[in-house]
């Protein structure tokens, strides 16, 4: 039903994330289709955030974190020796659960990424900042305060849109969003969701969410993760696994697995 080019598709294959001796999630195999929104849902501790953070190698920054399996993108395994994680993160941007604007002016927040790329020229920076803020639907609200206001002076929803603008400013191909609305009120959530629907025309979006209604509202594909437990020598081991992946409508209307059906209908346990 949806046309995708295999080149731009992220292929996660037999992937697992470990923190030291503890397995956070394993057995994850799913495609992430370009210019579509893919939602990861599941209970807390099912490893969906770990999978998301593995995609742009943010896990590299966590001491003791390891990733097994493969994530293929544009013909490379992202965990290949030759892949530069810095360049990778420029192409695969990220928006975090709690809005984390830098303690700088709005302008400097958005210009941060372009400046890292070596763009110094005032005119180009101004153009990029304006364009990115427009894309993030924040321009009209802050256009007069670009240099006067710190990013931290904005409201929660504005801060999150600022973070999205900041991510867009480096022209990424994929945007990863880790529960971007969990710290926001319903109205701010609505505006972020509308924004995602706009952005998906040009970007590939992956969103982790606790809110199944949100997944249903915005996403094209949904992956459901669940927790697995096992007793070993009296110690309970817990890890996450991918249960089901499919087009959102199909997964919500006719889930293949009973667990999925239970979770979606709120009979989780």
């Amino acid at each position: 039903m949806i046309e995708t080019s295999a080149q731009d598709r992220l292929e996660i294959e037999q992937m697992g994330v470990w923190y030291g001796e503890t397995c956070a999630v394993r057995n994850v195999t799913l495609p992430i289709n370009p210019r579509r929104i893919t939602a990861f849902i599941g209970p807390s501790g099912c490893g969906k955030s770990s999978v998301l953070r593995a995609i742009n190698r943010m896990n590299d920054l966590v001491p003791g974190a390891r990733v097994q399996g493969e994530i293929r993108y544009q013909g490379y395994n992202l965990y290949d020796e030759r892949v530069d994680p810095v360049e990778l993160r420029r192409r695969i941007g990220m928006v975090f659960q709690k809005p984390n604007p830098f303690p700088k002016s709005i302008f400097d927040n958005v210009a941060y990424g372009p400046r890292l790329l070596g763009i110094r020229d005032r005119k180009s920076l101004t153009a990029i900042v304006e364009h990115s803020l427009q894309q993030a639907a924040l321009w009209d609200e802050v256009r007069n305060d670009l240099h006067r206001k710190s990013g931290l002076e904005l409201s929660g929803g504005q801060q999150q849109r600022l973070c999205i603008a900041r991510a867009l400013a480096v022209e990424p191909e994929v945007i990863l969003m880790d529960e971007p609305c969990s710290a926001l009120d319903p109205i701010a959530t609505q505006s972020i969701e509308a924004l995602m629907r706009d952005l998906v025309q040009d970007y590939t979006i992956v969103i982790v969410t606790h809110n199944m209604q949100q997944a249903l509202r915005v996403s094209d594909y949904t992956a459901f993760f669940n927790i697995r437990k096992r007793e070993l020598d009296g110690v309970e081991l817990r890890w996450g696994e991918l249960v089901e992946f499919g087009p959102t409508q199909q997964l919500f209307d006719a889930p293949e697995h009973q667990e999925t059906a239970d979770y979606i209908s709120g009979r989780f346990g």
């Binding site: 993160r89 420029r90 931290l152």
Partner: protein, 490 residues
């Protein structure tokens, strides 16, 4: 079902008792604050009490006896007349008040090219030594400068000649005011007979006046602030009245600059490594163990008694690194390693743990979300540290600087071991100078039994406290400015 009346609860639950206990404890805590404040007030009072007060002073030579033949007072006499007084006035034992050495030093300071080392002066002629535009009899041009300077042990004819020659040079080339100063300080001289504390001076004024009239009829009573502009400008002296702290103040500043200059970059570097790199997952396990070990020990080092740093400084900087610290490697004429450089380096070691710990804490307090946000935009680790971590951590780092300046400025023990001089009159003018510092001067003067030196010590303490406060205030203002910029909301 009947519930107790609210008003009855005290009888049942002991509310009154609880309130009483609460009151007692809040009084106890209040008393703690009160005691601490009282101690501070007493300390300050004692210092101020010593630093100001009435003094009984007398002139060794009455200026009235130095008026000129036609009755003009000292202030109205010409440079030639004043130079004559300096040359000719003798004390009761027949020795000149102003020694030939003193005249010669003044000549070097005011007239000759003083940049030359003393050994070079030996071979110089008067003509070579004088600065252009200064006056001297033409026939002296080829006279050896050394010839002018002969010991006044025996007042030989030759010496008298030399005295006369220098006096002539001074009269021709030095301002009248400077010579007047010389006459006042060396001939008239003010002698301190007794000094009273501030509280006594105010409360028992009449008693003091009566006593002065009885014991020192010729003396004048005046109110003196031991802390004054001259006190800051002059070096130490054997007389309490003319003692100053210039050398010690400069020594303290030199030492602080060297100590902070060395330990700040080192400390920041170490803190950045320990916080941002040491816990890396791909570090070898042994390296991570070593890093943990180092970190624990830095914390312990902050508690090592300062005298031990002194011994370390003596062994390493004064002895082992002598060619460097004495300045011989830099081509200076250093004698030994007991220089302000050694002191500064020793102090740098002493404050390094404080700086590292505070910088580490400041770096650790930077939200991880900022680092992640930066990395997610494709920043490298170096860029993240430089653009996100350090600016936000800066105020906390300045706290470390404040604490370490406070520590360094008051330390005495390690500097005694490293070889601070107790009596020194020459300004430190390079890292390779001999030095003394304010706390050491305070220590020396406090232990001096002669009249007035307690007061000099008190004035020095005030200077030390003011210096400390102003340095800290600067750092706090800087810190607040940066943290206001960094916060500006939250």
């Amino acid at each position: 079902m009947k519930r107790p009346e609210v008003a009855n609860i005290p009888e049942q639950g002991g509310l009154a008792r609880r309130r009483r206990i609460g009151r007692v404890w809040s009084r106890v805590y209040q008393a703690c604050v009160g005691l601490a404040a009282l101690a501070l007030v007493i300390l300050l009072l004692k210092i101020v009490d010593d630093a100001f007060g009435t003094v009984a002073v007398v002139n060794v030579v009455d200026p009235a006896s130095l008026v000129s033949a036609d009755g003009r007072s000292l202030d109205q006499q010409s440079a030639t007349e004043l130079a004559g007084l300096a040359r000719d006035t003798l004390d009761e034992k027949g020795r000149p008040y102003v020694s030939t050495d003193r005249l010669f030093t003044l000549f070097l300071d005011e007239v000759a090219r003083t940049a030359l080392p003393p050994s070079a002066l030996r071979d110089l002629t008067v003509g070579q030594a004088l600065i252009e535009g200064q006056n001297f009899p033409p026939e002296w041009a080829d006279r050896s400068l050394f010839d002018l300077r002969l010991p006044d042990v025996e007042r030989s004819e030759r010496d008298a000649g030399a005295r006369a020659d220098i006096a002539t040079l001074l009269a021709d080339n030095v301002e009248q005011g400077r010579l007047l100063e010389l006459v006042y300080s060396d001939i008239v001289q003010i002698e301190l007979l007794e000094s009273w504390n501030l509280i006594d001076s105010l409360a028992r004024q009449e008693e003091i006046q009566a006593r002065a009239a009885r014991d020192f009829p010729q003396a004048t009573l005046e109110f003196r602030s031991w802390l004054n502009a001259d006190f800051l400008r002059t070096p130490g002296s054997s007389q309490a009245l003319t003692s100053g702290i210039r050398v010690a103040l400069l020594g303290t500043l030199w030492m602080l600059v060297i100590a902070i200059g060395v330990s700040l970059p080192l400390g920041l570097g170490a803190a950045i490594y320990l916080e941002e790199y040491a816990r890396d997952a791909n570090n070898h396990r042994l390296l991570r163990l070593l890093n943990g070990f180092i970190e624990t020990n830095i914390r312990n080092l902050a508690g090592v008694p300062s005298i031990i740093y002194g011994i370390l400084g003596l062994t390493v900087f004064v002895r082992a690194m002598e060619p460097l610290t004495s300045g011989r490697l830099a081509g200076m004429e250093g004698t030994d390693g007991r220089t302000v450089l050694s002191a500064g380096l020793t102090m740098a070691l002493l404050i390094l743990p404080i700086i590292i710990i505070n910088a580490q804490e400041a770096i650790r307090a930077v939200p991880q979300a900022l680092r992640e946000g930066s990395h997610a935009l494709g920043a490298t680790r170096l860029q993240t540290i430089a653009r996100q971590v350090l600016p936000v951590a800066l105020p906390g780092m300045l706290t470390g600087v404040i604490l370490s300046v406070s520590r360094a400025i008051g330390e005495t023990a390690p500097l005694v071991v490293v070889g601070a001089a107790t009596t020194i009159f020459i300004d430190p003018d390079s890292p390779f100078s001999r030095f003394t510092v304010l706390p050491i001067q305070i220590y020396r003067w406090t232990a001096d039994p002669r009249e007035g030196f307690q007061d000099v010590a008190a004035a020095t303490i005030i200077v030390l406290l003011l210096l400390l406060l102003s340095l800290n205030a600067t750092a706090i203002i800087l810190r607040n400015r940066y943290s206001a910029r960094a916060r500006r909301t939250v």
